[in-house]
Symmetry: C2
Subunit: 284 residues, 2 copies
């Protein structure tokens, strides 16, 4: 596995550095970009915990670092923030750029099994295995990590944590797609990447995974804006996740925030709370 990375940009931010890198991924078989915020502690080469951020549909590695305003609290708490892209890109797969909710910018954090997509669209393995190795090799990490995300990336954070018991210390999400096997976005993506056999889909549905989770406590922390259009449209369904957690006796905190929508203005308003939540679980 090639763990070499190439620095594309570096900007000083709150005493640390906001950087963007690219590398040749052996898993997705294409060049992948990711952003890394290094707090002052990491710049001084002291080992830090890592929080992974998974973005939503249409996003890439830049949205969170430009719009969420998470660098200040990350600087203060000494956590590294890693933001991968949301899909492979430029793979010359027929139709990869045709829609905003499938293909480029919409990898859905699954390992595709369908012929057209399986060579590149291995985002689950990329996020949970290859990328953490790349981060460990290149930055001063202390072996602890958590994961969070937004919308499609909230779904991604939940399934990554639920499928790898013990690997992540905690998981949180803004407006996650909680039941992708039962909403329009998920149906399109899972049918496209995983094919029509729905038994395979359950492996990437947070509600189904919670039902059989038996690992250590995950500190699931979810924020959902009450004025989110996609909540009204039935794409998110946080009530199903709460039901599944209740039935499985898995603790979950669900914040329902009145008046907030699906935008980064919502994320920015509460990202400090999420990172402080993770910091409690990431303490040495």
């Amino acid at each position: 596995m090639a763990l070499d990375i190439k620095e594309l940009s570096s900007n000083k931010s709150f005493g640390g550095y906001q950087k963007v890198f690219s590398h040749e991924s052996a898993v997705t078989k294409c060049e992948m970009k990711f952003a890394v915020y290094l707090p002052p502690k990491a710049v001084d080469n002291s080992p830090c915990p890592v929080i992974y951020w998974l973005s939503g549909l249409t996003c890439n590695e830049l949205n969170f670092i430009q719009k969420a305003g998470a660098q200040k609290i990350s600087s203060e708490l000494g956590v590294i923030i890693v933001c991968p892209d949301t899909s492979p890109r430029g793979c010359n797969i027929p139709g990869e750029d045709d829609g905003w909710d499938f293909g480029s910018g919409a990898g859905f954090y699954v390992d595709a099994t369908e012929e057209l997509w399986k060579n590149n669209y291995q985002m689950f393995s990329y996020v949970t295995a290859e990328l953490p190795e790349v981060i460990k090799k290149n930055f001063p990490t202390n072996g602890k990590q958590s994961i969070m995300g937004h919308s499609m990336g909230g779904h991604g954070a939940l399934i990554c944590a639920l499928r790898t018991p013990g690997f992540y210390s905690s998981v949180s999400a803004f407006a996650p797609i909680c039941a992708p096997t039962e909403c329009p976005w998920g149906l399109k993506a899972f049918n496209g990447y995983l094919g029509p056999d729905k038994t395979k889909w359950d492996e990437y549905d947070a509600c189904k995974l919670v039902a059989k989770y038996s690992g250590p406590p995950l500190g699931i922390y979810v924020s959902q804006g009450e004025s989110d259009q996609f909540l009204k449209d039935g794409q998110l369904q946080p009530e199903k996740l709460v039901d599944a957690c209740t039935k499985a006796c898995v603790p979950i905190i669900l914040n329902r925030d009145q008046g907030y929508d699906h935008s980064y203005f919502y994320i920015a308003s509460f990202v400090d709370d999420h990172i402080k939540h993770h910091a409690k679980f990431l303490k040495d």
Copy 2:
């Protein structure tokens, strides 16, 4: 003067609302957009002070609200933030979209006198007269305002404050173009908008205006990143502003921040300090 505005977007942010509006400007004779952050205090209809933010070259009314992360401190301190666009747009002036440093996105906050531009490019009057009237009419203001900006917008903030003694309570800037009559960006813009008679240029050069300023104290507060490429290129020249202020006995605070560049990552790192600075001057 038409003071009616049209709401283009509204997103809840830190308990207040980040909104974007358009209106028909009588001064620039085109539709202008601007962004307004309303802190919870303003949402409750209590009068608040206003801070105007002027953006730099290529920007519009959105860059600051998406990238600076100023909503949290503005929410806490109860200040309204107003971000106008950086130029008229869509005026069908020959060449208006040909360059990134002249025309659209590059109004330089002057009132143009050259034939081609003078009908629309009246950004000084727009920012210091028409827009404040629009804000006063439509939002709960308390009559006090300050002004700040970045790069071309830092120049804009300085000249707006220096030319209107008493109107703004304080002025601050990130990496301002301090001596536009003596740098490549300024020479191109002033020649294009104001014509070859350089005596007219001095009215829009902060260093020249400081020399003859006789209004109330302005609390000039400037931040300059030491690793700013445009500082090295001679476009910014903060030392000339400090010299001019020293000679004129006008107090100025210049923060030189090691390792920081010209980007919004720099602005985000110190915007709280700037807004707190203004809040001291804006107290009832």
